[in-house]
């Protein structure tokens, strides 16, 4: 990950020392998260949405989920499709077009690998009829700050909240005699994803842990993220 902010060695030492003393520059403990406000269902035309706001640094994240019924991919006939899109309003201010694209791809691939799995959001749950119909979820993130991997915890939280808020209509599949093939009809009930899959679906949390000389750090800011050399991302 290329450094987007250049920190001098003095600043890095200051941050490292503050972590060892268990008092970070903004006053938090090492294992303390920032306070945030979370609002659900903020976007009316989406199936599920969440607005995550950090009052301390003014960062805002909108996560929205839109769904449509499509034909599944040929090599994964019994799975649904999930696609991530990440956008920032601060594009092009300091980074070049290639770098911002690379950053977006990194974030998307990290989110995909962490959240879509058999333990997380199982794509098989989105299948309506193998080989014929499945749900396609478009998960969008709109971030009001420069994109960075440091905030991936927050992105995952926003997506998790939006998924918990999602209500998908029930689909009935029947044989249409006019077109001589299977067709679907949108039912009247609205189901949450847990109800759709008939079992509890919980999206995993993502935690980025940093390690400095014996102390662990959680929920890092951008400066701390650059300073700390050893980081793991766990979902």
């Amino acid at each position: 990950l290329r450094q987007r902010m250049d920190l001098s060695t003095v600043e890095m030492n200051y941050i490292a020392d503050s972590i060892l003393v268990n008092c970070r520059p903004d006053g938090r403990d090492n294992l303390q998260y920032r306070t945030f406000n979370l609002k659900l269902s903020v976007l009316p035309s989406t199936f599920g949405s969440a607005h995550l706001q950090f009052p301390s640094d003014g960062n805002q994240i909108y996560a929205s989920i839109k769904a449509e019924v499509v034909k599944p991919l040929k090599n994964a006939a019994d799975e649904g499709i999930v696609q991530f899109y990440v956008d920032s309003t601060h594009e092009g201010k300091k980074l070049s077009y290639d770098e911002s694209n690379r950053c977006k791809d990194e974030i998307i691939s990290t989110l995909e690998s962490m959240l879509i799995s058999s333990a997380g959001l199982n794509k098989k749950l989105l299948c309506l009829q193998p080989g014929a119909f499945c749900w396609k979820l478009d998960i969008d993130l709109l971030v009001f700050q420069m994109l960075s991997l440091a905030h991936i915890d927050a992105y995952a939280n926003a997506i998790r909240a939006a998924l918990a808020d999602t209500l998908l209509p029930s689909i009935k599949i029947f044989f249409n005699s006019n077109t001589k093939c299977n067709d679907f009809e949108i039912g009247e009930d609205l189901l949450t994803i847990s109800q759709l899959s008939k079992k509890e679906v919980d999206l995993p949390y993502i935690v980025t842990l940093g390690y400095v000389k014996g102390s662990f750090v959680v929920d890092m800011t951008q400066e701390e993220f650059i300073t700390i050399k050893h980081k793991t991302v766990i979902s």
Binding site: L43, P44, S45, T46, G58, D87, T89, D140
Partner: protein, 266 residues
Amino acid sequence: YILQGQLMKYQEQISLEGLRLDGRRPGELRKVICSIGMHDSANGSAICEMGCTKVMALVDGPKQLIQKEESPVGKLTCSIFMTNFSTSQHKDNPKRQMKMRDFAQVVKSTFESVVRLDEYRMSQIDIQIIVMQNDGGYKSAAINAASLALIDAGINMKDILVSTTAGFIEGKCCLDLLYSEEKKEGCSTMICYAPAKGLLSHVNVISPKMSTPLLSETIENAITGCKSLYTILKNYIKEHMLTKYCLLYTSPSPRDATLSRMPSSA
């Protein structure tokens, strides 16, 4: 917008009682909710929600303009950003940005007539508009949000710009069109109105054919709508200013009142 009337199923736009698709009378505006100043990192920010249409505007500036030649007036830049989830169908970005550049030029020129750029020599003011939800009239909501954000940023303006759409549906002039109404009729007008001076700043007409008397009637109705919208926006601005800042009149004539920013007392 091209009329797709032949292909679409016939749907009554105005029912027998005279109500539109969402239960409004023809001359009624949608519910307007504004939040001003929610974004700390930008100098000025505002969200304007007209019904389901939600548009956010961020204003950055005035900041230093790096330019070789000296210009007597400041520079106003505008960028529009449309999210993937703004319309009912999910769309990817690239195609939209081409259309957005035209609208950005429109917004820029509209606000250049209102913002006192001669007081901001060698400075640049950036307006960034983010369309989050488009349920018809996103251009109007964008201009309203940008006006509010400029006020929040404390930019010197001659007047506030208020905007709304209007069009003819089944022979009746309707205000504040929905997305389905815009698409169906293919005939809509958007006007930007400056209430204090009573002048029109910008008129945008999208119609295959509209006769001149109909057009003038549409514009008149739209101006009435803008006036009522102005009172709504004024209340929001007053509320915001009184809760956060103190009002300060720096000019002798109250008409050219400049709303300056004072540090918020704890």
